[in-house]
């Protein structure tokens, strides 16, 4: 499809054009210079940070999601459905890793039984992805076959010099371009190709560029019983920082909140396999030590998930856990340690 461009300084016009009909979310810096997705309004500028602290999974799988309400009067219990059809919205400036994470989540939430809340949000979203001009040392999306230079989604975009280039890649993407065609102009394909080449060269120079995942699908038990887990997990604090900044972690818990006066609200919230009360049952927890909980997280990402999904890994190499772990233990260290073993 054709390529379109708009001067970077004029992006506000594009945002305004989109916001007229639907909500647009983009990474915005807070006062500490950290980016998170926020709804665009006049005056908000797109962050120049490489990526957001929280991942883009929040759009489809928010941290807290009310499911249903109960109201009790005397002996009667009313069940109130509070699910809502999502409105159309645009996620602007998601990076290649986050865009791939949606595919990972799709395999979980869109498989039978389909998660209707997830599905409605997914269907109403248009994803405008942005290529990474300045990847960091913590990036290893290439490991999982993700191309940061061609970030997928509905519209792919690049910042080239002072211009912002866009290329629709799906019908939804074309519809997005149609909406903003008054503010964009036809662009030059060669400029985009040049930028893609440039980004790929940088990606090749990253310190984790030669990290390759090991297919352990056949060796599930072997990896599970590896003596390395003791050492790897020995200093894990058991916090959930890695799981909550992770774009692909999809575990949740369903809880009830008793609001009093006979009202009960049932909601689901993110859960972390690093927590000691994860999957707590009447008989206790199945994973009693931090080692077992730690192992669960990485086995899930690197072994169990690929087994169930034709070898697709449940990690997209965004590097968030590399930056945010309090003790700097992370999936790359785990992969490298297990690799020595293999």
């Amino acid at each position: 499809m054709a390529v379109f461009k708009i001067p970077y300084a004029d992006l506000g016009k594009l945002f305004a054009a989109v916001s007229a009909s639907e909500k647009l979310y983009l990474p915005v810096d807070n006062k500490l210079g950290q980016a998170n997705f926020e709804e665009w309004e006049e005056g908000k500028e797109m962050s120049k940070q490489l990526n957001t602290v929280r991942s883009a999974k929040d759009f489809f799988f928010p941290q807290i999601q009310p499911l249903v309400k109960f109201r009790r009067e005397d002996k009667k219990v009313d069940i109130i459905d509070i699910r809502e059809e999502s409105e159309d919205f645009v996620i602007f400036g998601a990076k290649a890793c986050d865009v791939r994470s949606f595919d990972v989540l799709d395999n979980v939430f869109l498989a039978e039984p389909v998660d209707t809340q997830y599905k409605t949000r997914r269907e109403h979203a248009t994803i405008v992805s942005l290529a990474c001009n300045r990847p960091a040392e913590t990036c290893f999306c290439g490991t999982f076959g993700i191309d940061a230079a061609k970030p997928a989604g509905d519209v792919e975009s690049w910042i080239i010099g002072d211009d912002f280039y866009m290329e629709p890649v799906t019908d939804k993407g074309q519809a997005f371009i149609d909406k903003v065609k008054d503010v964009v102009a036809e662009g030059d394909q060669a400029a985009v190709d040049g930028q893609i080449e440039k980004i790929r060269t940088i990606m090749g120079k990253l310190p984790l560029a030669d990290l390759k995942p090991v297919d352990n699908r056949e060796k599930e038990l072997e990896v599970f019983n590896s003596p390395k887990w003791d050492e790897l997990s020995s200093h894990c604090l058991g916090c959930g920082a890695c799981t909550f900044v992770c774009p692909t972690c999809q575990c949740f818990d369903i809880e009830d909140f008793n609001a009093g006066y006979g009202n009960v609200e049932r909601f689901r919230c993110w859960d972390s396999c690093m927590y000691n009360e994860f999957t707590l049952m009447a008989a206790g927890t199945p994973r009693k030590t931090q080692k077992e909980r730690f192992r669960q997280r990485f086995m899930h990402k690197l072994v169990y998930y690929p087994i169930k999904n034709d070898g697709m890994y449940s990690c997209v190499g965004c590097g968030r856990c590399l930056r945010k772990c309090p003790i700097q233990m992370n999936i790359v260290k785990v992969m490298k340690t297990l690799e020595e073993d293999a």
Binding site: F257, A259, G260, Y261, N263, E265
Partner: protein
């Protein structure tokens, strides 16, 4: 909140009273046929030091507009030292709440003995008046807990 609703608004006050002094003080007020505002809901605890910070926070979450804690006068605690603990704990807690922007007037500790029925009434009158002037608690309330 609309103006209309505001007109109907009556403060909800939670008074946490120790069994040995303040609750008896409230009792005495009743026996003496002294009246104190009906906005005050009393919760009886064995000793004022039974109150942990969560009691106070929970009251606000569930819609209280002010929380007042009553215990024996320092030196008179049934358990000798309970209210000394209360004094330190609540000083620090209230200061923290104030630091987070919850008006300090919404939280109070008063010492009321079993013989001070009139004082109990005066304290509650005064507290209800303060909270009425402050208006409804918005900063620590949980909207899910609204009666509707």
């Amino acid at each position: 909140m609309s103006v209309n609703e505001n007109k109907d608004w009556e403060p909800k006050i939670i008074a946490i009273c120790c069994n040995w002094c303040s609750y008896s003080g409230a009792d005495l007020a009743g026996t003496n046929r002294l009246s104190y505002p009906a906005n005050v809901k009393i919760i009886r605890v064995p000793c004022s030091c039974r109150v942990n910070p969560m009691f106070v926070l929970r009251a606000f979450q569930r819609g209280a507009d002010g929380v007042i804690l009553c215990g024996c006068h320092p030196g008179d605690c049934h358990y000798s030292t309970g209210n000394y603990h209360t004094r330190r704990r609540m000083t620090l807690l209230f200061s923290m709440l104030n630091y987070l922007g919850i008006e300090s007037a919404r939280t109070r500790v008063e010492w009321v003995s079993a013989a001070e029925g009139q004082r109990f009434v005066d304290v509650m009158d005064g507290f209800v008046k303060t909270i009425t002037e402050l208006g409804p608690n918005r900063r620590l309330e949980d909207l899910r807990c609204k009666q509707n």
